[in-house]
């Protein structure tokens, strides 16, 4: 545990002494702000139109009309940002030669894998904290549901952590950061498209296959959280995804010894 903290601490420190963390943080804040304003504008417009139909106005609120869209856009931003954050996490150790230092130190492979994941998870938590600030602003001017607002943030956090676990694995299987970036992006985009793929061709006609594909999709477990539904089945999904990718990452790191 002490070692996990040491590895995580170094990882975070390296992130913050280089421009990477600041670049990602400012880019993320900018994009989040942009989407927030766009979604806000859209919300206002719809609200204005709905004023002629009081029946529909009753069903329209900040959570479903604004935060739902906003959180959705954030999940897409995460999909493109996280590969950039995680690409170097193991690949850089190999090019620095520090892989040899880590593997000849009195650390277990789990210390390394968990430490690096924890660092990524903390960084993502900071990003989601920024999203929380935007959502929090709404409480000053309106009254969104606290539960729904929070469960959406939880969904974003878990989605981000899943992406970090996947990105870490991609970085562990290659020496090149660019390759790690591309592998992560391809896997994440594929995960995003899975529900669509599940409807297609052979996959669509075989219920077992399409159900499995659908189950693997991040989106279908993120959506309930977005709608305020915290289901253990969805939480289990995220835990299983993160856990499995950490296990294969551990195997990939260990394989350096056998080459």
């Amino acid at each position: 545990m002490r070692h996990v903290a040491s590895v995580a601490g170094r990882e975070l420190r390296s992130l913050f002494v280089s421009p990477v963390a600041y670049g990602v943080l400012s880019l993320f804040s900018m994009l989040a702000g942009m989407f927030f304003i766009l979604d806000l504008g859209w919300f206002e417009q719809v609200l204005f139109q709905f004023q002629q139909y009081p029946g529909q106005l009753a069903d329209f609120n900040l959570n479903d009309g604004l935060l739902h869209e906003f959180y959705g856009s954030i999940s897409v931003i995460l999909l493109f940002l996280i590969p950039g954050i995680t690409m170097g996490v193991y690949a850089a150790e190999k090019t620095n030669g520090t892989e040899e230092l880590l593997l000849t130190s009195p650390l277990t492979i789990w210390d390394i894998v968990l430490g690096k994941f924890a660092a990524g998870a903390i960084f993502i938590a900071v990003l989601i904290g920024i999203v929380g600030l935007f959502a929090g602003m709404l409480f000053l001017y309106g009254d969104p549901e606290v539960g729904k607002t929070a469960s959406g943030l939880l969904g974003l956090l878990l989605t981000g952590w899943t992406y970090v676990a996947i990105g870490g694995f991609a970085s562990a299987v290659t020496r090149s950061q660019i390759v790690a970036f591309l592998i992560t992006l391809v896997v994440l985009v594929t995960l995003l498209l899975l529900p669509g793929i599940a409807e297609f061709g052979i996959a669509g006609s075989a219920p077992g296959v399409s159900d499995t594909l659908r189950y693997l999709s991040v989106q279908l477990h993120f959506d309930p959280l977005l709608n305020g539904l915290v289901d253990t089945a969805d939480l289990t999904y995220f835990a299983v995804m993160i856990g499995s990718f950490l296990v294969i990452t551990k195997a990939a790191v260990e394989s350096a010894r056998w080459r």
């Binding site: 040491s6 170094r10 280089s18 230092l101 880590l102 593997l103 000849t104 130190s105 010894r257 056998w258």
Partner: protein
């Protein structure tokens, strides 16, 4: 302190290291000699626990590298061929990190880092980012990370490779100083891998010569050079002998099979 028992590393049919055994007592300083590709680095990587041997094992400071790998690794200070450095960290924060992962107790960490900085003459650049340092300085940081936890075993893999003559002299002086037991230090057992003979002459008291993955010489330096022969001659004798054979019979097995078909 270090005991290698039949260390063997095979990659498929290729044998990188075969049946290398030796035993080093506390405080011994040994030169690991051999031409490039002789298996020095592979042997070292097996001792440090980076590569698992295909066969055989090693005992470091009483801990088997298979039985208790964590304790064995804790006892080793290791400078790999390319010094393992994070270019974005400062010298001091890097050494602090290494001290942490090498299990230096929290209360002793500060002092341990200060001492390593002092012994490698890095105190003046301790706040500098490693990426901005010259090669000679980086090599010193590499040495500092190897000694920061004051390990009983020190393994240095070609510590002067790629340095200019001035830097080589510096690093060599540093190693001599490090290997000379000073007050209050645990006497370190040192393996110094190199293909530069002068280095061995200057620093080591015992020589292990590897050639084509096998140990061909293992003797005290004084004994080897007692007959008036230079280390250079010994090295050449043991490492070119086989090569000469090879040139004489470039395809040994084929010659055999031809004679077989004739009879």
């Amino acid at each position: 302190m270090i005991e290698a028992r039949g260390l063997t590393k095979r990659y498929g049919d290729l044998v990188a290291v075969e049946e290398v055994s030796f035993s080093l007592a506390r405080g011994e300083v040994v030169g690991f000699l051999g031409p490039n590709g002789a298996g020095k680095t592979t042997t070292i990587r097996m001792l440090t626990g980076f590569l698992p041997p295909t066969d055989g094992t090693a005992v470091i400071a009483g801990h088997d590298i298979f039985g208790d790998p964590i304790a064995a690794r804790r006892a080793i200070g290791y400078l790999p061929e390319t010094p393992p450095l994070y270019p974005e960290m400062t010298v001091r924060s890097f050494l602090e990190y290494v001290a942490r992962i090498k299990d230096v107790p929290r209360v002793e960490r500060r002092a341990a880092v200060d001492r390593a900085l002092e012994r490698t003459a890095l105190t003046d650049v301790r706040r500098q980012v490693i990426g901005t340092l010259s090669r000679g300085f980086r090599q010193r940081v590499g040495l500092a990370q190897a000694i920061v936890h004051n390990p009983p075993v020190l393994i240095l893999d070609e510590p002067t490779a790629g340095l200019d003559p001035l830097q080589i002299r510096e690093i060599r002086a540093l190693i001599t100083e490090l290997t000379a037991p000073s007050q209050g230090d645990t006497q370190q057992t040192v393996i110094l891998s190199t293909h530069i003979l002068a280095e061995v002459d200057a620093i080591c008291r015992r020589v292990i010569l590897l050639h084509q993955g096998r140990k061909v010489v293992d003797a005290p330096l004084s004994e080897l050079t007692s007959g008036g022969r230079s280390l250079d001659q010994i090295f050449t004798d043991h490492t070119t002998h086989d090569a000469a054979d090879k040139f004489a019979f470039p395809s040994g097995p084929v010659v055999e099979s031809e004679s077989g078909s004739e009879s």
